[in-house]
């Protein structure tokens, strides 16, 4: 009996950078075997971007790659060579899923388009996670994560009060496309389980980001008004802000959504009379007078430790939490106690802390199975196991520059 939900599922994974690998990372977490096909000519960009372990560059030392390729295998091929494409097609016969996030049309040009692959394996599931989709006037556009957030309206809606449109801190459309990609692949596997048929999925990173913009889009649709940038403030709830705490650039987020929470906040601040202050008596008034409210709360938080504020307010039933940085997260007792932070032995960088699996399953406990692969670590093993190649044959192909 299967121990993990996707046990026995094999993915031939041509994805690179972040969006695609984030999709197959979720499948790896769920038990699928991910065979990452890396190019000898164009190493994955995430192998070449800092941080490197102990600041020493090297393709196996990049934290970015090692974070998003946990639990996968790596084979190295020269994808410009027809012999390599033939080998890839042989591997497709043994795969359930083929995934890529190249620009539209690249898989076809490589000789790995869906029409060809479905003839090799009729029930194959293939997903292409391109920037703008496989059709339409922008299909050839380069789709990076940060510009996708600009294009999808996320920058326009984000920003401080009365300020310009702002960036959003991370290349969010990338992992978001990965999450939608994981959903699409898993549901296509479910579709195959019910009907026996495979399918092709054309996913647009631009559109997956747009799917998360309903508040702005529907506001425009219903009122003709564009979203108004107002920092962390909420359309209904007040207070809702990051407040300055004691210490260098330390902040605590506080949100109040109900009357009970409002009274609890006033009590916890030692100012119970505020609850009935005519400026703040109702949710609508608090929203209307939120600048005054923000000042009062800042006066209370600014000389306190952010964790002290958090504990006081949470004990009183009010949503509060420090604004966490990378160190806070890596060392957080809660995340460590839950087993979220993982450390796996990597042949070159040793044991490093990584973000692990953001869910727990009672019947099929998921765990990260291995650190990210060294570049080409599994070329020989995969070809021997799946295609029955001898070591000699693999060596010859490596000498010929077809494999590495």
């Amino acid at each position: 009996m299967a121990n993990l939900p996707l046990d026995g599922i094999r993915v031939l994974d041509f994805t690179w950078a972040w969006a695609g690998p984030f999709a197959t990372l979720q499948l790896a977490h769920l038990g699928a075997e991910i065979i990452k096909v890396e190019s000898t000519l164009r190493p994955c960009v995430t192998r070449a971007i800092p941080p490197f372990a102990d600041n020493t560059p090297g393709p196996n030392r990049a934290g970015y790659y090692n974070q998003y390729n946990q639990g996968k295998k790596s084979i190295l091929m020269s994808l410009s060579r027809p012999e390599a494409i033939e080998i890839a097609c042989e591997l497709v016969k043994h795969a359930d899923v083929v995934a890529d996030n190249f620009a539209a049309g690249v898989m076809d040009k490589l000789g790995l388009g869906y029409d060809k692959l479905r003839r090799i394996k009729p029930d194959i599931i293939m997903i292409s996670m391109s920037g703008y989709g496989q059709t339409g006037p922008f299909k050839g556009f380069v789709g990076y994560g940060p510009p996708a957030a600009a294009a999808a309206g996320m920058f326009f809606g984000t920003g401080y009060r009365d300020g310009d449109p702002a960036e959003i801190g991370i290349s969010y459309p990338d992992p978001n496309a990965g999450v939608f990609g994981a959903f699409a692949i898993i549901t296509a596997l479910a579709h195959r389980a019910l009907t026996g048929e495979g399918q092709y999925i054309d996913q647009s990173q631009f559109e997956t980001a747009m799917a998360l913009m309903p508040e702005g889009l529907l506001q425009f649709e219903m009122t003709g008004q564009e979203p108004v940038r107002d920092g962390n403030h909420d359309v209904v709830m007040a207070p809702n802000e990051c407040y300055r705490a004691a210490g260098e650039d330390e902040w605590v987020a506080i949100s109040v959504g109900t009357e009970d929470e409002w009274r609890a906040l006033c009590q916890a601040m030692g100012q119970p009379q505020l609850a009935d202050d005519p400026r703040f008596k109702t949710a609508a008034l608090r929203k209307q007078n939120e600048s005054a409210l923000d000042e009062l709360i800042t006066a209370w938080t600014r000389n306190q430790d952010r964790w002290a504020v958090t504990r006081t307010l949470q004990a009183a039933g009010v949503a509060a939490f420090p604004s966490m940085n990378a160190r806070d997260i890596a060392e957080d007792p809660h995340l460590n106690e839950r087993g979220y932070m993982v450390q796996l032995e990597h042949p070159e960088v040793g044991r490093r802390k990584h973000a692990g699996i953001p869910w727990k399953m009672s019947g099929t406990p998921c765990a990260v199975r291995s650190a990210a692969p060294m570049r080409g670590a599994d070329t020989e093993a995969v070809l021997k196991e799946l295609l029955g190649y001898s070591s000699d044959r693999v060596q010859q192909l490596m000498k010929a520059g077809i494999l590495a």
Binding site: T135, A193, Y200, S204, G216, S255
Partner: protein
């Protein structure tokens, strides 16, 4: 307006309860591919009914834009889970269900009959997926949270907007309800993975999705900057790579970025090979990042001579990944989205025709459609409780007058 459900997933029965966005979004993803979702609302209706946006800014619980977006393709019932009669109705629904998705916070679950282990014991084939801020276990399990809490707890807001020159301004959350959406999306794909497992094993299980953890897994290379090289990234400071900034074109704003050398070379050519581009301080992407201010000043004059759309098209033609800072209006008129029929139309009673974001993954075989509008409060209570669960008309009447449904 109802369309037939032609999906192979029509046989999957999902029950959704809780409040707000995360569980509703997860269940929406399943409803969109064809699962039959029943949304259980508390007697006062879901919180999102009061959030809007509303037509002409007139609040009306049957006209909330976010509620409509999240709940098309679902049927809706009302049951007060804080009362035993309401919990009985929920359990009747769960007897026939495959998946339960909810976001009731851990400390409130006992009172609503939603303890995962108990549900799994009672309904061994059921997949019980809960979404919470901090997960079901650990020191913060009982902590409260909203969207802003999750954005900060997961480490995202602390990095945003990025390259900020304003240390006096706080960490900044992204527009909308992104952390809640992620909680829902993670619940959707893990639930379907568990459903695949059940096909083989016959067994359901409990899934615990933490929004804090989902967001902390999305911090790009920022978490590993610390664990690999002891650098703590911040929303302040400057971008590592250049060019990377928002600039003013003649008629609007455009985001200018090149991440790889060949893109920079193409951009230099597009700019007409200005002499300054050969300066030593711009020799590679890291140097250009370190000298971002000088670079932006030099590029700005050139950018200001372009209209946004013209520069976007010209840059993309040269494979330079610029993008406009699109407004909502721009997006409804976007030629790419129009050509791909991205927006779907909902005929919502009382509101009329609305365009909403459609399916962002185009499946070759699994059908997708808006089959029905979002339910009005309690619209399907009678259909579901009486016709399908066999509650008598009299009993329903009694439950209604007692305020349970």
């Amino acid at each position: 307006m109802e369309r037939p459900n032609k999906s192979p997933f029509a046989a999957i029965k999902v029950v959704e309860c809780g409040q707000g966005i995360s569980a509703a979004f997860g269940a929406k993803m399943l409803a969109d591919i064809g699962a039959e979702v029943i949304k259980v609302e508390p007697p006062g209706g879901d919180l999102t009914r009061r959030r809007g946006p509303f037509p002409n800014n007139q609040p009306d619980p049957e006209k909330s834009g976010i509620f409509i977006y999240l709940n098309t393709n679902k049927r809706g019932v009302v049951a007060d889970l804080k009362r035993p009669e309401g919990r009985d109705l929920l359990h009747k629904l769960l007897e026939r269900a495959d998946i339960l998705i909810h976001n009731v916070p851990p400390p409130e679950r006992a009172a609503q009959g939603l303890i995962s282990q108990e549900l799994c014991a009672k309904f061994p084939r059921l997949i019980v997926t809960s979404i919470s801020m901090f997960g079901d276990s650990g020191p913060y399990a009982d902590y409260k949270g909203y969207e802003l809490t999750a954005s900060n707890a997961g480490g995202w807001a602390n990095l945003s907007p990025g390259a900020s020159p304003y240390p006096e301004l706080p960490p900044l959350k992204c527009f909308g309800s992104q952390c809640d959406f992620q909680g829902g999306a993670h619940a959707a794909f893990t639930s379907m993975a568990a459903w695949l497992h059940r096909l083989k094993s016959g067994k359901g299980q409990a899934i615990d999705v933490s929004e804090q953890e989902a967001i902390a897994a999305m911090l790009e290379m920022n978490l590993v900057h610390y664990t690999y090289a002891q650098r703590v990234a911040s929303r302040l400071g400057q971008r590592l790579l250049g060019p990377w900034f928002i600039a003013d074109a003649a008629d609007g704003k455009i985001f200018c970025i090149t991440a790889e050398e060949h893109q920079w070379k193409a951009l230099v050519e597009l700019m007409g090979n200005p002499e300054w581009a050969n300066e030593e301080i711009f020799r590679d992407r890291l140097s250009r990042g370190a000298n971002q201010d000088a670079l932006k000043a030099l590029m700005s004059e050139w950018i200001s001579q372009w209209k946004v759309q013209d520069l976007y098209q010209a840059a993309q033609k040269a494979r330079v990944p610029f993008a406009p800072i699109n407004t909502m209006k721009d997006l409804f008129e976007n030629p790419q989205l129009l050509e791909r029929n991205f927006f779907a139309e909902v005929e919502q009673p009382g509101v009329g025709k609305l365009k909403v974001p459609g399916m962002p993954s185009k499946y070759g075989a699994t059908p997708w459609a808006i089959r029905r509008p979002a339910p009005s409060l309690g619209q399907h209570s009678e259909e579901v409780f009486c016709t399908e669960l066999g509650v008598s008309g009299e009993n329903l009447k009694a439950l209604r007058s007692a305020g349970v449904v």
